[in-house]
C-alpha cells in the first residue's frame, strides 16, 4: 500500500493548497463582481445571458468533469505503480483540455462574429449592463481558459516525467499537485457554468 514517500510530501501539498486558495479568492472576486452587477442590472444581464450558447457550456462541463475523473484516476494508478495506465490517463486529460479549448475557440469565434466582444460597436450602443456582462464573461472565462492551457501544459510535463521514471509510486507529489491544479480548473468551471450559461 504505502511506498517510501518524498520527504517534503506534506509541505509540497500544503504549498499547493495555499496556492489554490489564492486562486479561489481570485475567481471568487470575479464571481463577486458578477453578483454585484447582476443585482444592479438584472434585466440587462437577462438579455445578455440569453445570447449564450448553452450547448457549448454543457458540452464543456461534461468534458472538464471527465478530464477531472481521468486525472484523479491517474493519481490512483501511480499509487498502484501502473505507469502505462498513468500515461494513458494523463493523455486523456490533456486531450480533454485541447477539446475544451477548441470548443472555446468555436464559441468565441461565433460570438465575436456576431459583434459581441469588449468595446465592440454593438456593445457600446447596447445598454451598459449588457457590456458589463460580456466584459466579465470574457475576463472570467478567458482567465479560466488560460488556466486550462497552463494545466494542460503542466500535466504534459508531468506525463514526460512519468515516462522518464522520475515520477513513480514512491515519489509522485508532482503528479498529485498537477492533478490538484487540474481539479481547481474543473471546480471554477462548475461555478462559471450556472452563473453564465444557466441562471439568466
Amino acid at each position: 500500500m504505502s511506498g517510501p514517500l518524498h520527504k517534503d510530501y506534506a509541505g509540497a501539498k500544503l504549498g499547493m493548497w495555499l496556492f489554490l486558495f489564492t486562486e479561489l479568492l481570485l475567481f471568487g472576486g470575479l464571481f463577486l463582481l458578477y453578483a454585484a452587477y447582476l443585482a444592479r442590472y438584472p434585466r440587462e444581464f437577462g438579455t445578455a445571458g440569453g445570447q449564450m450558447h448553452l450547448g457549448f457550456g454543457t458540452l464543456n462541463t461534461v468534458i472538464l468533469i471527465t478530464s477531472s475523473l481521468l486525472v484523479a484516476m491517474a493519481v490512483t494508478a501511480i499509487q498502484r505503480n501502473a505507469r502505462r495506465m498513468v500515461l494513458w490517463l494523463l493523455g486523456g486529460t490533456v486531450l480533454c483540455a485541447a477539446v475544451f479549448l477548441f470548443n472555446k475557440y468555436l464559441e468565441w469565434s461565433d460570438e465575436i462574429g456576431k459583434g459581441i466582444y469588449p468595446n465592440s460597436p454593438k456593445l457600446v450602443a447596447a445598454p451598459p449592463g449588457e457590456s458589463v456582462f460580456f466584459s466579465l464573461y470574457y475576463l472570467t472565462v478567458g482567465l479560466h481558459g488560460l488556466h486550462v492551457l497552463i494545466g494542460g501544459t503542466l500535466l504534459t510535463l508531468v506525463a514526460v516525467r512519468v515516462q522518464r521514471g522520475t515520477i513513480h509510486a514512491g515519489d509522485y507529489v508532482l503528479l498529485e499537485n498537477g492533478a490538484l491544479y487540474w481539479h481547481l480548473v474543473d471546480l471554477v468551471w462548475i461555478f462559471i457554468f450556472p452563473l453564465y450559461y444557466l441562471i439568466l
Binding site: 453578483a35 454543457t58 484523479a72 471546480l187 462548475i190 450556472p194
Partner: protein, 93 residues
C-alpha cells in the same frame, strides 16, 4: 505514513463522476424548465454540491488531515465574508 497515502479506487472515482454528470443533467433541466426565482438558488446549490464532491473525493480532501481541512474552511469563510459584506452594502445602500 499510511495516513498520507490513501488510495481511492477507480470504482469510487467513477461513481463520483456519474454523480457529477447526473447533477449536471439536473442543473440544465432545472434551468430549462424555469421553475421561478428558486432556480438561481437551486442552480447554485447544485454547483456547491458538485464542488463539494470534487474537493472531497477527486482532490482527496476527505482523506486529508486537520490542517488542510481547517485551511480550506478558513479560505472559504474569507470568501463568504467578502461576498456577504459586499452584499450588505450593495443591497441596502
Amino acid at each position: 505514513m499510511s495516513e498520507q497515502q490513501h488510495i481511492v479506487s477507480y470504482g469510487k472515482l467513477t461513481a463520483i463522476w456519474l454523480g457529477l454528470l447526473a447533477l449536471t443533467a439536473l442543473t440544465v433541466w432545472v434551468a430549462r424548465h424555469n421553475v421561478g426565482i428558486g432556480h438561481v438558488w437551486g442552480s447554485l446549490a447544485i454547483a456547491v454540491v458538485k464542488g463539494g464532491l470534487v474537493i472531497a473525493f477527486f482532490m482527496h480532501m476527505k482523506y486529508e488531515g486537520r490542517l488542510l481541512r481547517w485551511l480550506l474552511f478558513f479560505a472559504l469563510s474569507v470568501l463568504a465574508i467578502f461576498i456577504g459584506f459586499t452584499f450588505f452594502d450593495v443591497l441596502y445602500r
